[in-house]
């Protein structure tokens, strides 16, 4: 018990929360960009433009089938060889965005697929252009249906930021490792803290999604 009291000293806690802040920062920025890029790629794959959609689709499949760790390594260590040099935080954001965009693109494409074809036809016959129909009619419905899948992907993203410890991103897991690396008695308290902090963060995310989901289904009814 004494170990826990010592381990959760103000200094250590502050250090942990500094790490949590970096985790949050990298997650939020990556979620923002990967949502935009993922939507664009998902739509691009869905609309079936000759060659273009096929190429986008292949890129999505390529990225989806590689380990995120490898993409992190590549962004940080291999890209400088061709002149793209990024500091550790931007590198992590780029790697997370690339990986999660591809994951989101698939979710979004299947979300659009699930919207009945009649919706598009009806919207077009009411005089909307294809782009208008897509942005006003199809995508909003698709997003509504996708909320649970999207949020669980966001949760994955938050968890995956921990992998960036391998390129020394000073996020939550790395800071915890530094603390227990300096005093073995803090090992268990640090793992407990990690589990609790990640759980609270992600569970809050999933609760928010449930609230949104419920509110939306109420307006639909």
């Amino acid at each position: 018990m004494q170990n826990f009291i010592d381990a959760y000293s103000a200094i250590n806690l502050r250090y942990l929360f500094e790490g949590l802040w970096i985790t949050t920062e990298v997650s939020v920025v990556s979620i923002f960009f990967s949502f935009i890029i993922g939507t664009l790629m998902g739509v691009a794959r869905y609309v079936n433009i000759k060659y273009f959609s096929a190429i986008i689709g292949f890129i999505i499949d390529l990225i989806r089938n590689l380990p995120l760790l490898l993409i992190l390594f590549f962004t940080y260590f291999a890209l400088p060889n061709i002149g793209v040099r990024l500091a550790v935080i931007p590198a992590s954001i780029v790697a997370m965005t690339v990986f999660e965009s591809a994951m989101l693109a698939e979710i979004i494409r299947s979300g659009i697929n699930a919207v009945p074809v009649g919706q598009m036809e009806a919207a077009r016959s009411n005089g909307l252009t294809y782009v208008q129909a897509m942005t006003v009619v199809i995508l909003p419905q698709a997003f509504k249906a996708m909320i649970p899948a999207l949020v669980s992907q966001f949760i994955s993203l938050v968890k995956d930021t921990s992998l960036a410890t391998i390129i020394l991103l000073p996020e939550l897991t790395y800071h915890a490792q530094i603390i227990y690396g300096q005093d073995v008695n803090y090992t268990i308290p640090m793992f407990v803290a990690l589990a609790v902090l990640y759980f609270v963060f992600n569970y809050a995310l999933s609760l928010i999604s449930r609230v949104i989901d419920r509110r939306m289904s109420r307006t639909r009814a």
């Binding site: 380990p67 590549f74 968890k159």
Partner: protein, 214 residues
């Protein structure tokens, strides 16, 4: 890239072997564990459901790295010796079991109970109904998500690199360090991952489509 692939073929393929081994063991383990917790989640007693639900929610919200490092670092300090490969495989199993539990729970709930009653009412025995009606449907529902979980496992097993688990990523890091040829090494490693995951993911997509229209 090809020089790396040929010069270090034995390390890379042994790494690929550990990667596939860990993924397969974890797939089987998490299938068992996942089914167990899925059954608990739809169980009769309230507290059984609560335990099942709690397990899934907790595991799903904690990073794989934290679970794996926990097994690698804490368990040997107090309980029993586990090496990196074992710790990594256990971590993968526990992490994946939560996702499989979700898949199976929704799979079971989506096969309506009317199917069984209908089959019984046209004169089939319980086992005939199970084998001819329920099983084929259940397999079609469960195979594609399980295949996707296996692809995830192959990718996620790169976590073994953190705990000296001799997997493909671990070997890749060592080769990159000894040859100083980072770019080509990671290209080669990426290629080996893709050789396994790409065909699988196309197969799963094909099965999904075929069984959905059938």
């Amino acid at each position: 890239m090809f020089t790396i692939l040929f010069d270090h073929a034995s390390e890379l393929f042994s790494g690929l072997g550990y990667t596939l081994g860990a993924s397969l063991i974890a797939l089987i383990g998490s299938l068992v564990l996942g089914t167990l917790f899925a059954l608990m989640e739809i169980g009769q007693h309230k507290w059984v459901r609560v335990i099942g639900r709690a397990y899934v929610e907790v595991v799903r919200n904690i990073p794989l790295l934290v679970i794996t490092m926990g097994f690698y670092v804490i368990v040997p300090m107090f309980i029993v010796q586990v090496d990196g490969f074992t710790a990594g495989t256990i971590g993968l199993t526990i992490y994946t079991s939560a996702f499989i539990a979700e898949t199976i729970r929704s799979g079971i709930q989506s096969v309506s109970s009317g199917q069984m009653e209908g089959a019984r009412s046209v004169g089939l025995t319980y086992y005939q109904a199970m084998f001819h009606i329920i099983f084929p449907q259940a397999i079609k529902i469960v195979i594609p998500p399980l295949g996707n979980q296996f692809i995830n496992l192959v990718k996620n097993s790169s976590i073994l690199a953190f705990v000296a688990g001799f997997d493909l990523m671990y070997q890749g890091k060592i080769i990159a360090n000894s040859t100083f040829n980072t770019f080509d090494t990671y290209l080669a490693v990426g290629l080996l991952y893709l050789i396994v995951t790409m065909p699988l993911s196309y197969l799963m997509r094909f099965l999904e489509k075929k069984w959905k229209t059938a």
